[in-house]
């Protein structure tokens, strides 16, 4: 690939062109889209079949067993929760720090947040022995006088995920309203009706924009601590327990770093896919790609560091049983997966560190997928080895997950993909108004004389003697 541009975006681009370019993604789908949908539905069908079988038969079909009460379901749950953090990173954190290169790519990242949360939410249910009683986790008033146990990190999870899903879905939607209005203005038929309802009558008035700006900023401020707390709470499922290898102080930041990491990696994946299929080279520019890759690399190094902290703390720590678990990760039955995780998570990201490698998008596509494989393995390496090698030597065991578990994990990607496919056809995956903002501001930054002229003219207008009325016309 040759250097397209070193600019984040071409600020001379026509705004009407932006609308056209982005809105073309909402046109009737091509054949490739339907193929993708079919693949996702097929994947999802695997999961549904497996889940129905498991529901009717019991969790024994998942080959869970006594030491391994938790398996891939929980690992994948953390994986999806983790992936959701990327949207928050791009839309909230970068928004607050005014990194406007996020603007062309934050929309799909934010959607990814919501969808991965919607995927993640399934896993605790699938994982439950009696999922039809899941609602007992919700604190509702009943004449039986029983409540959930608020001490349980699982209840915290339920609270945190509900809050996070609500907030991020709302955040996604609020940010979409101006674009939905554009869609409304450019569509006909049922689409028009749909977008009319969705856009809530957005007209871009100054009152709306003013409140919008405040709201967006406030939401961003809420989402950042929320995202951190959500993954800290998820980590407390483990850190709050007494098990060696789980009872680790550094788990909350470790989880958050891992979450941001996997989220960024999947942003790269989706970035490349969207850029390729919708031909959005103008918006998803190489410059932005470079920035995400660098960001991902930085987070990867943070994650690596936290890994080393954990290993070091365990190795030199007081708890020999935790050390055993660590050693079992190094050389035990999980060793191939463990080393694969470290390779994908800590070595492979160096591919992001070199410009030449970074600019090779097909390669980056593969790398980003592998990074996510690594991050998925990380979650499995958190759940599995501790259960295999805990305190009681009697219960030492190794169990390979059954096909049912794999099918459901596999199918969850189909579900996520399906949601995302629907998303890209229903709402603009690139925020048009924010790209315009970006272009507007970039243009003014690039041409300081424009701003100067504007100010000059304002001053000029004031210096003209006030005269009632304007003659002529």
């Amino acid at each position: 690939m040759k250097h397209v541009s070193e600019k984040d975006i071409n600020e001379e681009i026509k705004w009407a062109q932006i609308n056209t370019d982005i809105l073309q993604s909402l046109q009737n789908p091509r054949k490739a889209y339907w193929v993708a949908v079919a693949v996702c539905v097929a994947m999802l069908a695997c999961a549904v079949v497996a889940e129905v079988y498991q529901y009717q038969t019991g969790l024994g079909v998942a080959d869970l067993n006594r030491p391994h009460m938790w398996g891939l379901y929980i690992a994948t749950f953390i994986f999806w929760i983790g992936m959701s953090h990327s949207g928050t990173l791009l839309s909230a954190i970068l928004h607050i720090v005014h990194a406007d290169w996020r603007k062309p790519i934050y929309r799909f990242a934010e959607a990814m947040t919501t969808f991965s949360l919607m995927t993640a939410g399934f896993f605790p249910m699938i994982h439950l022995g009696r999922m039809w009683n899941l609602y007992w986790v919700i604190p509702y008033v009943t004449d039986r006088g029983i409540w959930p146990n608020f001490r349980s990190p699982l209840v915290w999870d339920a609270f945190a995920i509900t809050t996070y899903l609500t907030s991020s879905a709302v955040f996604l939607f609020i940010g979409m309203i101006p674009d939905l209005a554009i869609c409304r203005d450019n569509s006909t038929g049922w689409r028009k009706k749909l977008y009319t309802v969705l856009s809530l009558g957005w007209q871009g008035t100054d009152r709306q924009w003013r409140n919008f700006r405040k709201t967006y900023m406030l939401m961003a401020c809420f989402l950042i601590p929320l995202a951190v707390s959500v993954h800290s709470i998820v980590s407390s499922d483990f850190a709050m327990s007494i098990m060696p290898g789980w009872h680790v102080t550094s788990f909350p930041p470790y989880f958050v770093a891992g979450a941001l990491y996997s989220g960024c990696a999947s942003i790269i994946t989706l970035f490349i896919i969207l850029r390729y299929f919708f031909r959005w080279e103008e918006y998803m520019t190489m410059a932005i790609h470079e920035k995400i890759c660098k960001l991902t690399f930085a987070i990867a190094m943070v994650w690596t560091y936290l890994n080393l902290v954990e290993f070091g703390a365990t190795w030199y720590g007081h708890d020999p049983v935790a050390k055993e678990v660590l050693i079992s990760k190094f050389v035990g039955p999980f060793a191939p997966f463990f080393w694969a995780m470290l390779f994908f998570g800590s070595v492979l990201p160096f591919a992001l560190a070199f410009e030449k490698s970074r600019r090779n998008l097909p390669w980056m596509f593969v790398v980003s997928l592998l990074l996510n494989v690594g991050m998925w393995l990380e979650r499995w390496m958190i759940v599995g080895p501790t259960l295999s090698h805990a305190y009681g030597p009697e219960s030492w065991n190794f169990l390979w997950p059954s096909i049912v578990q794999w099918a459901i994990v596999f199918g969850s990607f189909g579900w996520f993909g399906l949601l995302f496919l629907i998303f890209v056809k229903v709402v603009p995956a690139v925020s048009m108004y924010e790209v315009k903002e970006m272009v507007f501001h970039r243009r003014r930054e690039a041409n300081p004389e424009l701003a100067a002229r504007f100010h000059r003219r304002i001053t000029d207008a004031q210096s003209v003697t006030a005269k009632p009325g304007i003659e002529g016309a």
Partner: protein, 211 residues
């Protein structure tokens, strides 16, 4: 209908039927925090001292029994004590259906010409007990003890006359003495039990009933 709120019970009307337990949790709890102070003190039941009868209604359905046993004649007209026939109630967790021999003890001589008694005699002569249908049932993971409840409300209850035991039975079984075959008129669900345990300071250990 006066509606009161008990934080424990949810919204209840005076008859005790829960009317609001299924409202959204947050909303209910919000109201609950406000309404927590408003608590209804239930008056003691007239016939059973030191007891607050459980509240709740259930629309039972008629169950076809092998013999349409007239509880009203036995308990209401002839004023036979419940525990005369359901003799195990004070000694066991189950009240028990009286053995056929107990029926025959009287009906060898009494009312032998009535069709129901003839049917009973038929069973007796076949040496085969009637297969009654269970009316008052709780799930298998609930272990209710008649023995302990009778001790609390009848035998250890100061001022309680054993003759009036049917009033205590009526807590959960309704006015059986006004029925022929028994019908389920109380919900017998956990809320029903829990409200009564709260009102009468019964134990609140899950393992008392669930094992």
């Amino acid at each position: 209908m006066s509606v009161v709120y008990s934080f424990f019970s949810g919204w209840v009307d005076r008859s005790g039927a829960s009317i609001g337990g299924r409202l959204p949790g947050y909303l209910m709890a919000l109201m609950g925090v406000v309404a927590m102070m408003v608590l209804a003190a239930s008056p003691a039941h007239a016939d059973v001292p030191n007891a607050v009868p459980p509240k709740g209604e259930h629309q039972g359905k008629h169950v076809e029994q092998p013999i349409e046993f007239p509880h009203d004649i036995h308990a209401n007209v002839n004023k036979i004590n419940c525990m005369y026939c359901h003799t195990y109630a004070r000694r066991s967790k189950v009240a028990g259906i009286p053995p056929t021999s107990k029926c025959m003890g009287c009906h060898m001589v009494i009312a032998t010409d009535k069709p129901r008694i003839k049917k009973l005699t038929e069973y007796w002569e076949k040496r085969e007990p009637p297969r009654w249908k269970k009316v008052h049932d709780v799930p298998d993971f609930v272990h209710f003890t008649h023995e302990k409840h009778l001790k609390r409300f009848v035998f250890d209850n100061q001022g309680m006359e054993v003759e009036k035991v049917s009033e205590v039975c009526a807590f959960c079984h309704g006015e059986v003495k006004k029925m022929t075959v028994a019908e389920k008129v109380k919900p017998l669900n956990m809320g029903f039990c829990a409200r009564c345990h709260e009102a009468n300071k019964g134990p609140f250990d899950c393992w008392k009933c669930h094992k």
